[in-house]
Every structure is written in structure tokens, then in C-alpha cells.
């Protein structure tokens, strides 16, 4: 055994080095991408305020990001509400606190699951499509064509997408919250037989408008995040179909990781802010 180790020591240590170098490269690339996305976001957002204003494009992308995500949001939120309510019911039943199932589900949905799941779902659906679309336009010279026609491609292609994501994400999150609560209500009242009056009374007592607003705010930030990351990856795609595939993949993966990280940071910041303001 020791002899085998000695014989292959260099090869094994090179493999171990390579393994850690790959991890370091991956992390480095992630931060480089985040930095690039920030610069790209800044450059694109200031173009929103320059003429010609692209209202038509914003509406078109709002329809794509918003309307076309409603069905998938309704489906996932219904089952999220059902599953969460059932798990919390099972747990709270053990300590005889089933009256608190409603507000606990409500808090979980409005503060965390609503914005995060909406962010992840829409990042995968619309963010992926944004990266693929812009990547295809880049490799087929459509972005160059825009530029030589005297049209700023960032202003025409990127800014409207980011604005559309910022506007529609809180709306989608609100739909998620509402439908998930309807799912929880159905399970708790119609299936598990909890008292409807107590269910809503406790929700009214424990859930504050601030809980809902913080979720909507998070959703808006997640919208900016995935739109900036995915459009940046697509806009700068190189290398034909392979490059477009990689840009889409990287865009979606980076968006999802960022959404999860940002969610924790925002939760901490918001709780801290509420504590300072005396709202907590």
C-alpha cells in the first residue's frame, strides 16, 4: 500500500492540486461574473433614462417574464402551500399548537419561500430564456447589426428586460403568496378540519404588512439579480451554439446561487433594520 502511494505520489498530489485549483477557479469565476454583472447592470440601468424610451419593449418583456410565468407560479405555490401547511401541522400537533399553523405558514411563505421560490422559478424560466436569446443574437451578429444601425444594444435589449423583471417579480411573488395561502387554507380547513375563524384570526394577529412587503422587496431584488446576470452572460456569449449553451447554463446557475445568498443577507439586514426602527 505504502509502495503504491510512493510510486504514484506525484500523480496523486498533482490530482489533488488540480482538484483544489478547479474549485478556486470556479469560485473566482463566480465572483468575476458577479462583478461584471454589477458593472453591466449599472451601464444598462442608466440607459433606461436616455431617449428613445423603450416602453413598448418593457411591456413586451413584462408580458414574457410576468404573464407567461403565472401558470408555473400558481402550480408550484399551490403545492408549496399544501406541503408546508401539512408539515407544520404534523409538527405543531405534537405540542398541541395547531392553532398557530396558519400564521407560521404565512410567515414562511411571505418572508422566505414566496420570494425565493418565485426568484428561482422565474430565473430558470425567464432568465434562461434571456441568456439564450441574447447569446443567439450575439453569435448570429444581430447585436452587431443593431449597433451598426445606430441603436444602442444595451438600451434596446438589456434595460427593458431588467426593468420588466423588477416590475413583474413582486407581482408574481404576491400571486405566489396568495395562492400558497389558499393551498394552506384548503388543507388546514377542508382536509384537516381546523377552525377557519381561528386560522384567519391568528394570521391577522401575527402577519404584519411588513412581512409581506419584505417578501415583495426581496422579489424585486431577485428580479434585478437574475436579469442582470443572465443578460450579461448572454450579451457577452462567444463561441457559437456551445457558447450560447454555456452562457445560459452559467447565467441560470449563478442567478440561483446569488438569489439564495442574497436572500440570507437581505433577511439579516431587514431584521436588523426592523429592530433599529422598533418594528420587530
Amino acid at each position: 500500500m505504502i509502495q503504491v502511494w510512493r510510486d504514484n505520489r506525484e500523480r496523486i498530489s498533482a490530482s489533488i492540486d488540480e482538484f483544489f485549483i478547479d474549485i478556486a477557479k470556479g469560485i473566482n469565476q463566480f465572483f468575476v461574473d458577479c462583478g461584471r454583472a454589477c458593472i453591466f447592470f449599472y451601464q444598462s440601468v442608466i440607459l433606461v433614462f436616455s431617449r428613445p424610451f423603450r416602453f413598448e419593449e418593457i411591456i413586451k418583456h413584462m408580458e414574457f417574464v410576468g404573464n407567461k410565468s403565472v401558470v408555473i407560479i400558481v402550480m408550484t405555490s399551490t403545492f408549496t402551500g399544501l406541503a408546508l401547511a401539512y408539515q407544520i401541522y404534523l409538527g405543531f400537533k405534537l405540542v398541541n399548537a395547531v392553532n398557530l399553523v396558519g400564521p407560521t405558514v404565512g410567515m414562511g411563505i411571505t418572508r422566505e419561500l414566496g420570494p425565493v421560490l418565485t426568484g428561482l422559478i422565474v430565473a430558470a424560466r425567464a432568465g434562461g430564456a434571456m441568456a439564450a436569446r441574447l447569446g443567439t443574437m450575439r453569435v448570429s451578429e444581430q447585436i452587431d447589426a443593431l449597433e451598426v444601425m445606430g441603436v444602442d444594444p444595451k438600451q434596446y435589449l438589456v434595460s427593458p428586460r431588467i426593468i420588466a423583471a423588477v416590475i413583474t417579480m413582486p407581482l408574481l411573488c404576491a400571486i405566489f403568496d396568495f395562492v400558497a395561502m389558499m393551498g394552506a387554507h384548503f388543507l388546514c380547513i377542508d382536509v384537516l378540519g381546523l377552525d377557519q375563524a381561528i386560522f384567519w384570526d391568528k394570521i391577522q394577529l401575527w402577519i404584519k404588512p411588513g412581512d409581506i412587503f419584505q417578501g415583495l422587496l426581496k422579489a424585486g431584488v431577485f428580479g434585478v439579480t437574475f436579469a442582470a446576470v443572465c443578460t450579461n452572460r448572454g450579451f457577452n456569449a462567444t463561441g457559437g451554439a456551445k457558447g450560447v449553451g454555456e452562457a445560459t447554463n452559467q447565467g441560470v446557475v449563478n442567478s440561483m446561487v446569488l438569489i439564495i445568498i442574497l436572500n440570507f443577507l437581505m433577511t439579516s439586514f431587514i431584521r436588523f433594520f426592523y429592530a433599529i426602527m422598533g418594528w420587530a
Partner: protein, 264 residues
């Protein structure tokens, strides 16, 4: 060159990695009102040079003057205005694939001619599409529903939308069969004739087309201009590389400069 100059490149250099120079001191004057072909072996920097003329790439050093203006001395607004004086037919037409033929052809007018009503824009686009020989039955189709030749026609109509002073063609016949290649070549020539006064710059490796169409030819090699002049200059050249390029580059059965006269 005593005539007016549309594009002037002065000691143009470009490197992407800081080591290998794609363009290594290009000095060139493209005459106004003529068809100029830029030829050369693959990888000699033809398309890179075209992108510099369009202001899509910033030179590492050197100067690019288009219609008397230094591109990189301009503000963004001036550059945008300048670009409306240029029209480009990309290698694969680069049509916006979510827009119909009509929407593609009206797009530049929608962006730069807000004074025109939608109906007026469409009428103008119809004129341009008719000028490049596209059947009206295709006007409401998406680019994916068109053949390669039709796409090039739409791309050319779009390039002509704002009546540009310089028309640039980036490898217009790449990927087309020999018959369609001749059709596109004729289209370039006819378009140049119809839009009198415009300057055409054709980047191509199709020697036959270059000699058939051009008033002026530029051959690039190793990032610089190897030879520039009228087609006859190439025919009479003693340069070994030019000779080699001419001997390999013609399509079978085609004759070089003499064919130009017949075609024109």
C-alpha cells in the same frame, strides 16, 4: 489616389491579446462612388478591418476616417449619426429572427425616422424590398421561413433603408451555392447602379466576384495591404502571392478581368 475618399485607414493596428497583430499597419483609401473589394486568404484580417470601419472594434493604434470624420474622435451621438450613413449586409444577413421581413426592413426607419408614419415606413420598405427583388408574398414571413438568398435580399433591403452613403458587404456569398452566388453578386452590382453615388465595399474571398464587380481591389496579407488598385493591376502583378491567389481563387471555367466588362 486623386478622387474623393470614402474611407481612409491610416496605420491601423489591432491586436486582441497584445502579442499577435491581426492588422499590422493598414494604410488604405477606399474611393467614393465605386465598388471596392477587399480580398485575401482566410485569417488575413478582412472582417476585422470591416468591423473597424463600422466602429464596432476600437483600433489598438491608428486612425479610421469615414466620410471625412475620425470615428474615434466622435462622441457616441455623433457615431450613432454616422452609422445611419452606413449600411451593412452581414455574412448571414443577421436578420432579427423575432421580426417579420417587413418589420426587419422598417426597423432602421422606426429608430431613426420618427417623422415617418408607420404607413409611410412600410411603403418605403416595400420600395427597398422590391429593389432587391423580393416577392411581396414573403413580406409577412419570419426569417426562419426564408431561403439563404432571400435572407440576403432582406438584409440588403434593411441595409438600404436609410439610403446609406456607404454599403458594406461582409462575405455576402459565403455558404451559397454557385448559382445563388452569382445572383447575389448581380444584386450587389444592380444595387450599386440603382443607388447612384453610393460607395460599396465588399469583403470577400470570391475572386471571380471581386474581379467581375469591382472598380478597385485591395488584397490583404499578414495584417497589411499587399496590393491595391484596379483589377488590371492584379492581373499584371508579378507578386508571387498575388499570382498564387489568382491561380487558386477563380471558380472553374471563369475568366478574370475580361468578364467584368461583359457583366457591366
Amino acid at each position: 489616389m486623386s478622387q474623393e475618399v470614402a474611407v481612409r485607414l491610416h496605420d491601423l493596428k489591432k491586436t486582441f491579446d497584445g502579442k499577435d497583430y491581426i492588422l499590422n499597419g493598414v494604410n488604405l483609401e477606399i474611393p467614393k462612388g465605386k465598388i471596392t473589394s477587399v480580398i485575401g486568404f482566410s485569417g488575413t484580417g478582412k472582417s476585422v478591418m470591416l468591423k473597424h470601419i463600422l466602429g464596432l472594434l476600437k483600433p489598438t493604434s491608428g486612425k479610421i476616417e469615414v466620410l471625412g470624420h475620425d470615428l474615434w474622435e466622435m462622441t457616441m451621438q455623433e457615431l450613432i449619426k454616422m452609422r445611419t450613413r452606413l449600411g451593412v449586409l452581414f455574412q448571414y444577413a443577421a436578420l432579427f429572427d423575432d421580426m417579420t421581413v417587413m418589420e426587419n426592413a422598417t426597423f432602421p426607419m422606426k429608430e431613426h425616422r420618427p417623422d415617418l408614419k408607420p404607413k409611410e415606413r412600410e411603403d418605403l420598405a416595400r420600395t427597398k424590398l422590391a429593389a432587391v427583388g423580393l416577392d411581396p408574398k414573403h413580406f409577412q414571413k419570419l426569417p426562419a421561413e426564408l431561403s439563404g438568398g432571400m435572407r440576403k435580399r432582406v438584409g440588403l433591403a434593411r441595409a438600404l433603408a436609410l439610403d446609406p452613403e456607404i454599403l458594406l458587404y461582409d462575405e455576402p456569398t459565403t455558404g451559397l451555392d454557385p448559382i445563388l452566388t452569382e445572383v447575389v453578386d448581380d444584386l450587389i452590382f444592380e444595387t450599386h447602379k440603382k443607388f447612384a453615388g453610393s460607395t460599396s465595399v465588399v469583403v470577400s474571398h470570391d475572386l471571380f466576384a471581386a474581379f467581375r464587380l469591382s472598380d478597385y481591389i485591395v488584397m490583404l496579407d499578414k495584417g497589411g495591404v499587399l496590393l491595391a488598385g484596379k483589377p488590371e493591376v492584379f492581373h499584371d502583378s508579378e507578386n508571387e502571392l498575388v499570382k498564387k491567389f489568382l491561380s487558386k481563387g477563380f471558380r472553374e471555367g471563369a475568366t478574370a478581368p475580361s468578364a467584368k466588362g461583359e457583366s457591366k
